[in-house]
Symmetry: C2
Subunit: 317 residues, 2 copies
């Protein structure tokens, strides 16, 4: 084992924050030894509940996260917050990396905040997010809160993998039905209509409620609650925390928790297979002579992308 990796593994085992931070960076950059690191910390992992918060920009997710994390730390918990930011299609970096909105918590003992880009090199989910969860669990945090910005897009995949997901909405953002239809109804275990003092809050909450009722199957014991809140005034935040606990208990009673574990395992495995593809096939091709030749041929309308892909990865078909 590389010395650097061994040191990081030891540091994480001893609860050293510096080692955790360096390990997160190594994993996010897919730096040399990252796979070995993930393999080595694997036995250290203690599973913990993962809570998800998702919603469009500006609906108040960060205010809510701030409150939840603050309360949990008060109870003596060690909390990790993974703030997943949209990635610019060009720069490749997370654009909201500064995250001024997390200022309240930054530096507070017991809270570990990490901003991460939502996408990997291939445009899908960033595999580093799953890996960060593993690192935090090896670091023995008691709870992980994943906050994502998204409206039904691939970013919601991540929160879908959380044990309990709160979808945060607000009134007045245009075509609410469309937003709701765009996949959010399916992933929410709890719904929060924030800024409930704005016009349209009642309508939105009513709409959500009726859509939830119509799709809740008979005999299904958990019907997602709809909370109207004004997070900036502290209104109903405690209630949301209770709903999270409530859902957690519900999970613990049934087989759903196991299902979630399996889904996460499957997702992590897929992500790592993707990374293998990137490292072994795509990486070496990009910018190679063959790549340039293929692009010339494609833009010159000689041979199609389908032709070149078969030539580059000859197959068994």
């Amino acid at each position: 084992m590389v010395k650097k990796v061994a040191e990081l593994v030891q540091g994480i085992g001893e609860g050293k924050e510096g080692a955790l931070a360096r390990a997160l960076t190594l994993v996010e950059n897919r730096g040399s030894g990252y796979r070995e690191l993930l393999d080595e910390i694997f036995p250290l992992i203690t599973p913990c509940p993962i809570w998800g918060l998702t919603g469009a920009p500006g609906v108040g997710k960060s205010t809510i996260t701030n409150f939840l994390a603050g309360e949990l730390v008060e109870k003596g918990e060690k909390i990790a917050i993974i703030a997943v930011d949209p990635t610019s299609p060009f720069s490749g970096g997370a654009l909201l990396g500064d995250r001024v909105r997390m200022m309240d918590l930054a530096g507070k003992p017991g809270v570990f905040i990490r901003s991460m880009a939502s996408r990997g090199a291939l445009g899908g989910l960033s595999p580093a997010i799953m890996d960060a969860i593993a690192l935090f669990q090896a670091f023995q945090v008691d709870r992980i809160i994943v906050e994502t910005v998204g409206v039904g897009q691939s970013e919601t995949d991540i929160v879908a993998l959380a044990d309990s997901v709160t979808v945060v909405m607000m009134p007045g953002t245009g075509d609410d039905v469309q937003t709701i239809k765009a996949g959010l109804l399916e992933i929410g275990d709890i719904f929060a209509v924030n800024k409930a003092d704005l016009e349209g809050a009642e309508t939105l909450a009513g709409l959500l409620q009726s859509m939830i009722s119509s799709r809740t199957e008979e005999g299904q014991s958990h019907q997602p609650p709809v909370l109207k809140m004004i997070a900036s005034q502290g209104n109903q935040l405690e209630q949301l925390l209770q709903e999270f606990f409530h859902h957690q208990e519900y999970l613990n009673r049934g087989e759903l928790k196991e299902k979630k574990e399996r889904m996460r395992g499957e997702m992590a495995l897929k992500m790592h297979l993707q990374a293998r593809f990137q490292d072994l096939f795509l990486g070496p091709l990009l910018g190679s002579e063959e790549w340039e030749q293929a692009l010339k041929s494609i833009t010159g309308r000689e041979k199609s992308p389908a032709y070149w892909a078969e030539k580059m990865i000859p197959g068994r078909d």
Copy 2:
């Protein structure tokens, strides 16, 4: 060549709509022979301008698309509209597939509308979207309009590949600066502040304007215009159409058009390489005995996802 594929290629060459529709379905489902089809229609392709429209749900994209397509058809053009819908993380299908909002145009001669899911099997961009563009261009359409729902997520990749992109926004959707920062400023060639009669429209337009000015480099000849409009009342729609033409002329003057062509070629090639990976490696693994064994080992905390990925795709590293 399979008979079915040969018939589709011939039909597309002869401008038969039925053949186009069947070819689009074949490509979207990655049905047998789809790669051969794409290879065969490749020489038929006549490049045409691709216009993109993006923005959050409910900002009025469809109203705008309706107008643009209607005007262009009046001028005698053959128009393709690709409406990219968010994909549900669970069902895998496009949830807004019904698209009542495109009713005005459906069935109008000269307009070809296709709703497509935004994501492929692996969670990244759906490769079928690039392929649909190729099919439409082989069908000799004069212009393609791609409409996507998205806020800085992977869906915006698709519009980023369009020749000219209009970002549609509206006031009052919460934290506007955050939305703007989330990658949209970088992909917009034109900005439309729709529902300009709502409160906050002036502020939003002013903010956009100042952000654009501050990042426009000296000597750069195209500074994205910011249009305030009320699309539902027809207000400023004609102006937007002119801005699209304007940007197209700007592109034709410089080397940017070539750059865009190259980017599209590169994207298509990557998508097809991904598809090869899916077909040759991931597909056969999913649900296999080895897959189940790996999942058991991962959820049982015996061996890590990184370990299994290396075992499943043994590498040169």
